[in-house]
């Protein structure tokens, strides 16, 4: 019927997406970008022998955004810092992912005031949110694994990538404005 029936035995077929996704998910290069308290826990995750991110090949934090594919926004993001973070995100090559580490990065946390951006998703698209103030390194490990399984491994390529982008854009166009949202959780 298909090509599967004509290839010799012992040959396995898969998609390019699956192979590339499988390779990508084991080679994260996070960006060295510490903002506040959570960055200390991020250092513990990367450097402390107890957590030892080297076990999964993730200890190589890169200081240059050009060499990084994962941005861990670790901590509260001030209004003054926001353009800098956005610039770093823009400088990272595709494909790239963002982890919002901690309550402040995810939603502003306890700092609901003039100085703090109320969630980094205002300025960069976030793939996974980690709660906690600050989250334990264990939680960051968990987030890393979930990100790898759910996002990185399934990163679309080629025509699929174009279709995914178009779907996302259409969804953003169709999304109701805040004042149009009805219901309890306004």
């Amino acid at each position: 019927m298909g090509i599967e029936e004509r290839v010799p035995s012992g040959v396995m077929l898969t998609s390019l997406e699956a192979v590339i996704g499988w390779m990508r998910k084991t080679s994260f290069w996070p960006l060295t970008m510490g903002l506040a308290c959570c960055s200390i826990e991020m250092i513990s995750y990367g450097g402390a022998p107890r957590y030892d991110a080297a076990r999964w090949g993730q200890e190589v934090f890169r200081a240059s955004p050009r060499q990084a594919d994962l941005m861990i926004v670790s901590g509260r993001l001030s209004q003054k810092m926001a353009p800098v973070v956005r610039r770093l995100y823009d400088q990272m090559p595709e494909p790239k992912w963002v982890i919002s580490l901690g309550a402040c990065a995810s939603s502003g946390g306890v700092f609901n005031n003039y100085a703090i951006v109320q969630g980094v998703d205002h300025i960069v698209p976030v793939d996974i949110y980690v709660p906690g103030c600050p989250p334990r390194p264990d939680q960051l490990i968990d987030a890393m694994f979930k990100l790898k399984e759910n996002e990185v491994r399934r990163q679309p390529l080629g025509a699929h990538a174009v279709a995914a982008r178009e779907t996302a854009e259409q969804a953003a166009i169709d999304a109701p404005a805040l004042h149009e949202l009805k219901g309890l959780m306004r």
């Binding site: 970008m33 506040a36 513990s44 450097g47 402390a48 353009p83 800098v84 306890v110 100085a115 334990r136």
Partner: protein
């Protein structure tokens, strides 16, 4: 931006034109108006051996708007190179930070460089401004403790301590704090001091490229965090010290955990000193780098290990004892090196002193088992007697029974205390404690209400940041990193 695009060789002649408007390095300052630049003053040629800051870069006295400001947003590389090529000198402006792996967080340094020599350095702060001081004016007195804990997040217990001591002083209950509460406060502060010094040493070494030192320090820090986790449920940002005492007593196995922590620290901490103090690379990088003498420390408000590295044994735990520090036997660590290495040695020695204090804490805690850990004042103490049940910590059954079934007044009081808190008499106080980085002070003003009228923190990191030009100008670029690591400014505390 470290490329030198100047066609003239660096060592041709001493530059006497530094600081003139012609070399205004406005490559990343689009708002610099060339027509508005001041005239060159005639007597500037005489000051060829004195570096005159470029007036178009840094505001002068009386300059209303600060002339040119450098933005952290950068510019097109071709524009930067073209403008650098137009300059007549070899001064280049290097922007370092706010996200740089060696600037201790989101600190930004703007350096004017001649080759590898730093001509001028200006720290740029505010990238982590969180508005904590302002927000505390909208939180109750007790809520202030966990909030101020997040200022200097590496040495958070010192923040809580200075704030709670200020509230205690304003309430007039400083002398009524139970002994066990004070011992628990000291214990929390000293464990936190060790954790903070380990971060200061570890990240300072990491910035020099010594990753193994960092790993050893983080490993020891994990033991400290594990212990804090056991008594307050959090590894960082504890909110443990509260007005009138502490949030909770040690858990049932707390003393055993503390003994184990002391044992681990006693056996492991000396190893860090052993393999760093005689390490030739660390010595070469740190000795005679970032020097600050006593007069400079005094002028710039430097405290803590930086001040003690000049041989002056100023430690508030000895000079103005608080929380019963006068009943502990420990030494103030001093050194006379005045450089980064001296501060490194002081931090190592102070950790040993902290372990010594922790051992005395164990004795005192053994003696005061069962005694109150918070002031016996229904107005200030916790709203409910807490207990640990099968589903975690909560109000004890006896207390719930009292509230729900027996006493309407107790229920009202509980409700008022949880929703509104307590009032503090009007007035203002200033308290200071010895934080790991230096002297942290709290100026607290109350108008007699349920919330502070004003809370201001004097953070040592803020004052240490201003010593950076003094330590670095005239030195090498690579020494800037060493000097910055040696004063250990935590940006959460600097910017608040």
């Amino acid at each position: 931006m470290t490329q030198d695009t100047d066609p003239t060789p660096l060592d041709e002649e001493p530059r006497d034109d530094v600081g003139t408007p012609e070399d205004a390095p406005d490559m990343i300052a689009p708002d610099a108006a060339p027509g508005e630049e001041p005239e060159e003053s005639p007597d500037e040629a005489d000051t060829d051996d004195v570096f005159v800051p470029d007036p178009s870069v840094f505001a002068e006295d009386g300059d209303p708007d600060g002339a040119t400001s450098y933005l952290a947003s950068g510019a097109d590389w071709d524009d930067i190179v073209a403008e650098q090529a137009e300059r007549t000198d070899s001064v280049i402006v290097v922007n370092m930070g706010p996200t740089h792996p060696s600037t201790h967080g989101v600190m930004r340094l703007v350096l004017e460089m001649d080759g590898e020599t730093v001509l001028s350095l200006r720290p740029g702060i505010g990238y982590l401004h969180t508005g904590i001081e302002k927000q505390m004016e909208y939180r109750t007195w007790v809520q202030g403790s966990p909030l101020i804990s997040r200022c200097n997040y590496v040495a958070s217990t010192a923040n809580e301590a200075v704030y709670c001591l200020a509230v205690d002083k304003l309430l007039g209950i400083t002398d009524d704090i139970p002994e066990r509460a004070n011992v628990l406060r000291v214990m929390a502060m000293e464990v936190n001091r060790i954790a903070s010094h380990l971060i200061a040493i570890g990240s300072g070494a990491l910035e020099l490229g010594a990753t193994s030192v960092t790993m050893v320090c983080l490993q020891e820090r994990e033991h400290c965090l594990e212990f804090t986790d056991s008594y307050c449920g959090l590894r960082m940002n504890h909110g443990y010290i509260r007005p009138g005492g502490v949030a909770s007593d040690l858990p049932s196995d707390g003393l055993d955990r503390l003994r184990e922590l002391v044992r681990l620290l006693e056996s492991n901490l000396p190893a860090i000193a052993e393999f760093t103090l005689e390490q030739p690379i660390i010595k070469l990088r740190m000795e005679h780098v970032g020097t600050l003498d006593l007069a400079q420390c005094m002028a710039l408000g430097a405290t803590g290990p930086t001040l003690r590295a000049t041989g002056y044994g100023w430690d508030l735990r000895k000079m103005q004892p608080y929380c019963g520090y006068d009943t502990y036997d420990f030494d103030v660590c001093i050194d006379t090196g005045m450089d980064s290495f001296a501060r490194w040695k002081i931090r190592l020695a102070e950790m040993d002193e902290s372990v010594k204090i922790l051992k005395q804490c164990i004795e005192k805690l053994e003696r005061t088992i069962g005694q109150p850990f918070v002031i016996d004042d229904p107005r200030i103490g916790p709203a409910a007697t807490m207990t640990v049940g099968a589903d975690g910590q909560g109000a004890s059954n006896e207390h719930v029974k009292l509230l729900m079934g027996q006493s309407m007044e107790a229920l009202i009081r509980h409700f008022k205390k949880v929703t509104a808190g307590f009032t503090v008499p009007p007035g203002q106080v200033y308290t200071a404690v010895e934080a790991p980085g230096g002297e942290i002070g709290c100026h607290l003003v109350s108008d007699g209400g349920l919330k502070p009228y004003r809370v201001h923190l004097r953070d040592p990191g803020f004052h240490h940041a201003q010593t950076m030009p003094m330590m670095c100008e005239g030195g090498m670029l690579s020494d800037v990193i060493v000097a910055l690591g040696s004063i250990d400014p935590v940006m959460g505390g600097v910017d608040r």
